[in-house]
Symmetry: C2
Subunit: 181 residues, 2 copies
């Protein structure tokens, strides 16, 4: 951030009065521009024991497999956002959303919130964002070709809990070093 | 938002290519400025069955009672943020944080995440943000003087679950009309 979004004049990085950390502050109108983490919402869509996954057709990690997820938008609930992302990436509608896993990814200022969910019907198709969409048996999950660490964690937690027959809300975090393969 | 934070030129509200909703787009450099909901993190701090509450000394809702909570900052986990807010508003450290309640407040683009927690010691004091900090018995909670609907919901859920002896992660939402007393 270099300029004030309110008046267009330059901002400087400085600690405002009554604050304890540097913020982008407008040198002209004084507006303080706060920057906060973003929430990424997504689903583990199930159909008869299989999990709906998509192979990314966009960067980053084009060609790798993922679960439907994306940034929560203004004007929607977390569950609405997860439903929308699933439609956008798989063409499929989900229902019975239950918050399942929250993952702090501090070094990129993102919080993931993944929901368990059920497909309304086994209707899905490639989309603008996904070259391929497929219902996967647990044994078929392409562990070496998963797009993001958070997706791998989500799937491992989910399969473990499903095997034990006992789901609870979970939290986890991803450190920067974990991203290196 | 009126000006581009990258180049200082005016932005216009328009639907970018490959997008489905209006964004602030720079008419000069083309930067798309996304705006997303913010996460508010906070605690229900307990000490020997009592709950630590604070009477706000800042607007909005100055003079009303609340639980420690505030915007999650870049560079911290959700639990770190809840701990920090508790120190800032009550002077007290909390431990054993467990995610308890997530509340969608769509009309103000906020998601609340409240943690159950335990005071490390019954040390607390007024702060810059709180005129008074007090351990409350359930019977003493000033229901008519609670600062925010989300705090009232959190306390009611918590007391109900505590009475039943069974806590699970909960979700809720607050509609605009609920804010009118």
């Amino acid at each position: 951030m270099k300029f004030c979004s309110q008046c267009g004049r330059p901002v400087t990085l400085t600690v405002p009065v009554d604050d304890d950390r540097p913020r982008h502050v407008c040198s002209s109108c004084g507006t303080v521009h706060y920057q906060n983490p973003k929430l990424v919402v997504g689903c583990i869509p199930e159909w008869e024991g299989r999990i709906l996954m998509c192979r990314r057709d966009i960067e980053p990690r084009k060609g790798y497999w993922t679960l439907p997820a994306g940034f929560l938008e203004n004007g929607e609930t977390t569950a609405d956002g997860a439903r929308r992302e699933t439609i956008e990436e798989t063409g499929s509608r989900v229902t019975d959303l239950i918050p399942y896993l929250m993952v702090d990814i501090v070094h990129i200022n993102q919080i993931y919130l993944m929901f368990r969910s059920r497909l309304v019907a086994p209707d899905f198709h490639p989309t603008q964002e996904s070259a391929e969409v497929r219902l996967m048996e647990a044994a078929d999950i392409p562990w070496d070709d998963i797009a993001f660490k958070v997706v791998e964690k989500t799937l491992r937690c989910f399969l473990q809990d499903r095997a034990s027959g006992r789901f609870a809300f979970r939290t986890d975090r991803i450190e920067k070093r974990e991203l290196v393969k």
